[in-house]
Assembly symmetry: C2
Homo-oligomer: 214 residues x 2
């Protein structure tokens, strides 16, 4: 399998964690989001990912896009080390946590959106930081409640083995720290992040560990 | 089952289509996003949906949030009239189309984001419309390619029965029309939308047909 990735992309980071948790080998291909006017916008890459975003996973049969869809495909195709629970209620809960991050926090703060706000609307650096932190703070506060108020939360987001929700949470917290978002009021998230960060699967997926890191 | 909904919410609209396709009865509870300073922000609703967004689906056991997670739960719990294909590659494709809409178009244009742009950043009405159309145009162009370049596209997004991707596409096109986004360069999407709109499941889920429509 070939993963089209960028070290700092948190959507790619999610998939790297999932691949590592399942101990699946893959070839990483760097798509530099800032070089050459954005390599993700070049025609040869957009044939793989029409929206021009990372990650994409090239398998024997197809090129898969969208990080959550890729992780579900990995989980169905390589079911050893399951990343989703085996009951429908549990899966709905894990997907809801993952989607709170992947739909309601991350898309607002990714590179193409920040670029639009800066270039097309002309917001200041301070307004950009406020925007970024607003969605992180609001979104992670909701995730904290989903975790704090549910007995199914364990060492990890759902039970005592890491899964899809953890694959999304750790990259989002990485971004939150990068933009100095306060995490003091998020004790459950902080505890789970510490548990994940003790595992090699998460450590080796981190941006700084990637071959294309700068 | 009880669906917390708002007639114009496209995330709620997705779930209404799915419930109708499966012919599942439900009680609709209106959460008015503009009345009382936003009923979705009130404490009793945020106990159900910590982020304060619609829809939420209350089942016998739990309150489920996030429209795609809810639809997957419905599909697993009521498998008659399947909304996802039965092969992993097909599911990955359908989820990728759904997530291109639910992660990369819709979150940028929903009410809370437009309100932030208007109130906190002070953008003009024209800038708001440009912003809205930019993400719709870019996102739907990508969806068009995912559909046009794949033999698995049928009468609907994936094959000849409607499914998860169609549940996301129709509400997004409804929004696109509302903001006068041009659809002329999207022939496959336009054809699929016409096919969906001929079905009662889609017709009855439309905003204008809801008991809380204005």
């Amino acid at each position: 399998m070939k993963l089209y990735t960028y070290f700092r992309s948190s959507a790619a980071y999610r998939v790297r964690i999932a691949l590592n948790l399942k101990q699946l080998p893959y070839d990483a291909v760097a798509v530099h989001l800032l070089r050459d006017g954005g390599q993700q916008k070049q025609a040869n890459y957009k044939q793989k990912s029409p929206l021009g975003i990372v990650p994409a996973l090239e398998t024997e049969h197809a090129v898969l896009t969208q990080s959550l869809a890729i992780i579900e495909w990995l989980d169905e195709t390589y079911p050893q080390v399951a990343l989703l629970p085996d009951d429908a209620d549990g899966r709905a809960r894990v997907r809801a946590i993952a989607q709170t991050i992947a739909c309601d926090i991350h898309p607002l703060n990714n590179l193409r959106v920040l670029a639009y706000l800066t270039k097309n609307i002309g917001i200041t650096e301070e307004q950009k930081n406020d925007w970024y932190r607003h969605w992180v703070n609001e979104g992670l506060a909701a995730v904290e409640q989903l975790l704090a108020n549910d007995p199914r939360t364990g060492i990890f987001c759902h039970g005592d083995t890491p899964g899809l929700a953890d694959c999304c949470l750790i990259p989002q917290v990485f971004n939150a720290r990068r933009f100095q978002c306060p995490l003091d009021d998020l004790p459950v998230i902080s505890r789970i992040v510490a548990a994940c960060e003790s595992l090699p699967a998460f450590q080796l997926a981190a941006p700084a560990q990637q071959f294309d890191a700068e």
